[in-house]
């Protein structure tokens, strides 16, 4: 049986979701998308540059329909602002998915939990499939789930920090309680970080800077694909319990007298 997961009507095989920011150009972005095997990409909603007519566009390289687009509300600091971006994103016509981000602090880009829950409630009522970026806090994850979010997306570490999973124990609690997909979003630096969250049982991992900011983004995208797959396979295989003392691998019987 194929190991799939879903959000709304969308069914995915790949458990790696990639951002499309910070790439050298759209062609590189597309090569990374191919190397990563990702089936969902995040995009931002911004003003058209009226001075750059006929400019290249992401959509020319990644045709709608080839992957699932997840529009974000990045850069929003209030619930009201996030609602505005979400509605504009939906009007762009690629579906009801929204990666809800309401930032609470400029330096850390940590989310504003209260405003995120407030915005999520309204967007759910408006028929959006809401996937909120949130703190690695089991209480806020539960509130977002109760608000009707289709997934929760706790951070591993600050956006773009590459610190990896800072709080595996909170993530374990979130995973234990959640009835919706848990997508670890932000903070991954290397494939072992991605493997780690997948080993714990995360549904998927979302990353951007770890790939786009590496020296060889296409190679890193391929490495991340393997990291996510390794972690997922290990989770399904079931790890051994941790023990304080040794347990010999070779038999005691048959030792020389």
């Amino acid at each position: 049986m194929t190991d799939t997961w879903s959000v709304g009507k969308h069914v995915f095989t790949s458990r790696l979701i990639i951002g499309t920011g910070k790439y050298k150009d759209f062609a590189e972005n597309k090569r990374c998308l191919d190397a990563s095997g990702a089936e969902m990409i995040t995009v931002a909603v911004r003003r058209v540059d009226l001075k750059a007519r006929g400019q290249d566009s992401l959509m020319h390289h990644v045709p709608p329909g080839s992957v699932t687009f997840l529009p974000n509300t990045a850069g929003c600091y209030t619930a009201e602002e996030a609602l505005r971006y979400a509605r504009l994103g939906r009007e762009l016509g690629l579906g009801d998915l929204v990666k809800l981000e309401v930032i609470g602090d400029q330096r850390t880009l940590f989310p504003d939990n209260e405003a995120t829950v407030e915005a999520a409630k309204i967007l759910v009522k408006e028929g959006f499939i809401v996937m909120p970026y949130c703190m690695d806090d089991p209480v806020v994850c539960k509130k977002l789930e109760d608000a009707g979010c289709a997934a929760v997306m706790p951070l591993a570490a600050p956006i773009g920090s590459g610190l990896g999973l800072r709080n595996p124990y909170n993530l374990a609690i979130i995973l234990e309680q959640a009835k919706v997909p848990v997508i670890v979003d932000a903070g991954v630096g290397v494939p072992s970080d991605a493997a780690k969250v997948m080993e714990l049982g995360a549904t998927a991992v979302l990353m951007n800077t770890a790939i786009a900011g590496s020296k060889d983004p296409v190679a890193m995208a391929a490495a991340m694909k393997l990291g996510v797959q390794a972690g997922r396979m290990a989770f399904l295989a079931g790890r051994i319990p941790r023990k304080l003392h040794a347990a010999a691998s070779s038999p005691i019987e048959g030792m020389l007298g």
């Binding site: 951002g19 499309t20 920011g21 910070k22 790439y23 759209f26 972005n29 995040t42 995009v43 931002a44 909603v45 911004r46 003003r47 058209v48 009226l50 007519r53 006929g54 566009s57 992401l58 959509m59 687009f69 529009p71 974000n72 990045a74 505005r84 509605r87 504009l88 994103g89 009007e91 762009l92 016509g93 690629l94 956006i159 773009g160 932000a186 990353m207 951007n208 800077t209």
Partner: protein, 66 residues
């Protein structure tokens, strides 16, 4: 001519509807979303909404982001 603000820049344009404005700007209506005075204008209304003097127009698209 009317004075309007498009994506933060004040401009003088002929009075026209949104679909015509997008054509003038060389934009494909399938790839943009439009707000007039902070109100979302659905794509199927582009041909029906006239731009008025003093309107604040926002035209957005998808760009790369995380």
């Amino acid at each position: 001519m009317i004075r309007v603000t498009i994506n933060g820049e004040e401009q003088s344009i002929e009075p026209q509807r949104i679909d015509a404005l997008l054509r003038t700007l060389g934009l494909n209506p399938s790839y943009v979303a439009v707000e007039v005075n902070r109100e979302l204008v659905k794509r199927d209304r582009f041909a029906g909404v006239s731009i008025r003097d003093g309107d604040q127009i926002e035209i957005v698209q998808f760009v790369g982001g995380g």
